[in-house]
């Protein structure tokens, strides 16, 4: 059996790390869906406040997306521009 090289180990661990980092993208999706559902409930209860509800939700949702993109960047950098291989 061939021994595991340092490069192969780093690539394997990076792939696992990228997979774990992608979990961060699920949270904002669930949260945004939940917020939209609650927004729809709010508009149903108070239709005259629709503009205020959507405006507030828009700003909140835009900022909430950021954390998912952080995870995506980490995953893509680990997969396609891995800085750890250069350390070998």
């Amino acid at each position: 059996m061939e021994p595991i090289t340092g490069r192969a180990l780093i690539l394997a661990c990076s792939a696992i790390g990228a997979g774990l980092a992608m979990i961060a993208g699920i949270g904002p999706g669930i949260g945004q869906g939940y917020a939209a559902g609650k927004g729809a409930e709010g508009v149903g209860r108070q239709p005259e406040a629709q503009a205020d509800i959507v405006r507030t939700m828009l700003l909140g949702a835009a900022v909430a997306e950021t954390t998912g993109i952080y995870g995506l960047i980490i995953a893509l950098i680990l997969l396609f521009a891995n800085p750890l291989i250069g350390l070998l």
């Binding site: 939209a36 405006r55 939700m57 997306e65 993109i69």
Partner: protein
């Protein structure tokens, strides 16, 4: 144009101004500014389009039933997530685009939202070091 159009235009305007400031600073301080500026423009434009997509999604979602709105907003989020992924992937692979520029461009609109809507009250900064007991 929908009832969020005025707030969208305001945020787009500030984002473009912020991008121009960053591009000017990079032209002054970086050795090779062109890849950074190209990536900044690319990221900023995609960020603006994503924000517009988010506004359209939410305007439509609030007219649905809560269950439908949940599924609709969640599925649209993953479309925007994929678009962001493609932008970052392209900026990593292309030599003429700087990754940091693209990431900064994508996040610029979020910084603008935070600065113009949450930290726009000068009293917040005045009160920041005052303890509750002293008030």
């Amino acid at each position: 144009m929908g009832y969020t159009w005025d707030i969208q235009v305001k945020i787009f305007k500030y984002t473009l101004i912020a991008a121009a400031v960053f591009a000017g600073c990079s032209a002054l301080f970086l050795e090779k500014p062109l890849p950074f500026i190209y990536a900044l423009i690319f990221g900023t434009l995609i960020g603006i389009l994503n924000f517009r997509n988010l506004a359209l999604t939410l305007e439509k979602a609030v007219k649905m039933t809560p269950g439908q709105a949940q599924v609709y907003a969640g599925s649209r989020y993953f479309i925007r997530y994929m678009i962001n992924g493609i932008v970052i992937f392209v900026s990593i692979k292309a030599d003429y685009l700087n990754v940091l520029g693209a990431v900064l461009g994508l996040f610029l609109i979020k910084f603008v939202v935070v600065v113009t809507n949450l930290f726009n009250d000068i009293n917040f900064f005045k009160r920041i070091f005052i303890r509750k007991e002293e008030e």
